[in-house]
Symmetry: C3
């Protein structure tokens, strides 16, 4: 078994959840927030058989979309007048995903 | 050290927390939700010595209870009139639990 | 790549987030709570290159502070009159941190 952790944008969460249900992919959702933008996002935690990992990665890739978002950098709150907060555009990725090994899996 | 992740039903959370305290099992709780039913549940994150893993699994198994819950399948919201939403009964398990290796553990 | 999970006190969260941004350490924040005190805390999830792990641990260690916190032990709620709830002081650490291996990392 493997654990897939996928951090996605809130706007893509329902679409991704529906795709997982259709594909019979079991998942648990966490409400999280980004360390940089401090805005809410969603983290999916998926324990799945090793041979279905690629299928799940493909679902995430097909549904999550990269978009641009304006922000006032949190860094500027600490700077002086020369650090005036100009809004900048950051690319907020469709999904940040990583996989890990699971040693044992149980359902009680 | 090992990491135990246990997704349990909200109704069993306080009883499980108390059992962990009694057994001196350290834990962190996350409010999560199920990908299928979309209802709230609780995820426990437990970092523990390898030789106590079975003890923790036994506590979870003894306290978490399987129960039945009615639901309107989220799938039917996307179907047409022929996908009318009939409530179905699903068995919501006591606990979904997995264990993973921890490479290093620190307390500062 | 490695995954660093750090459970820290809410009071240290913004300072730690700012330090991560300054150091270009990417992180996701989860609102969590302690199994013993039942009070809110914050869990940071950081996927990072293996050779930056020590740098991240050093940032966490330098910023997170141990504090004392009073509590009425949850245990006493189950005891009889002889288990009257006397407040006790517990030392709540700056941070509980563990590292794990990541098998694959993707950004879509
Ligand atoms: N120090 C910095 N300098 C310049 N730009 C920066 C930056 N830190 C982040 N960004 C930019 O801001 C976007 C949002 O980051 P945030 O940390 O709020 O929200 C992140 C975070 O919650 C999570 N994430 C990304 N990489 C991560 C990692 N290595 N570990 C843990 N969580 C990660 O995924 C969300 C989206 O990340 P994504 O990379 O697509 O998009 C990032 C990236 O384009
Ligand atoms: N492999 C895994 N990875 C990550 N998290 C996992 C997981 N397996 C279970 N979980 C978590 O545990 C909760 C209870 O799952 P359980 O299998 O006992 O109980 C499930 C199962 O009996 C049923 N179910 C879930 N997906 C289904 C599907 N595609 N078709 C039919 N029944 C489904 O609905 C119940 C509630 O599911 P829900 O997703 O809302 O909530 C799940 C989910 O949050
Ligand atoms: N091995 C582990 N796995 C997962 N999460 C872990 C963990 N060790 C610590 N944590 C997390 O870090 C928080 C702070 O723990 P710390 O050990 O510094 O500070 C602890 C400790 O000094 C004390 N404590 C916890 N359990 C105790 C027990 N059974 N008996 C006596 N003191 C206890 O109360 C403080 C607050 O504990 P709380 O559980 O509310 O909150 C914990 C918990 O959320």
């Amino acid at each position: 078994m493997k654990l897939i952790t996928a951090i996605v944008q809130d706007k893509d969460t329902n679409k991704l959840s529906n795709a997982f249900v259709k594909a019979n992919v079991r998942a648990t959702r966490l409400s999280t927030s980004g360390g940089f933008l401090r805005s809410g996002n969603t983290t999916f935690m998926i324990a799945i058989e090793k041979d279905r990992v690629q299928e799940v990665l493909d679902i995430i890739k097909s549904i999550s979309q990269t978009r641009n978002q304006f922000m006032v950098p949190p860094m500027n709150l600490d700077a002086g007048i020369e650090g005036a907060a100009y809004p900048i555009e950051v690319q907020v990725g469709g999904a940040t995903v990583f996989t890990q090994d699971i040693e044992s899996f149980h359902q009680f």
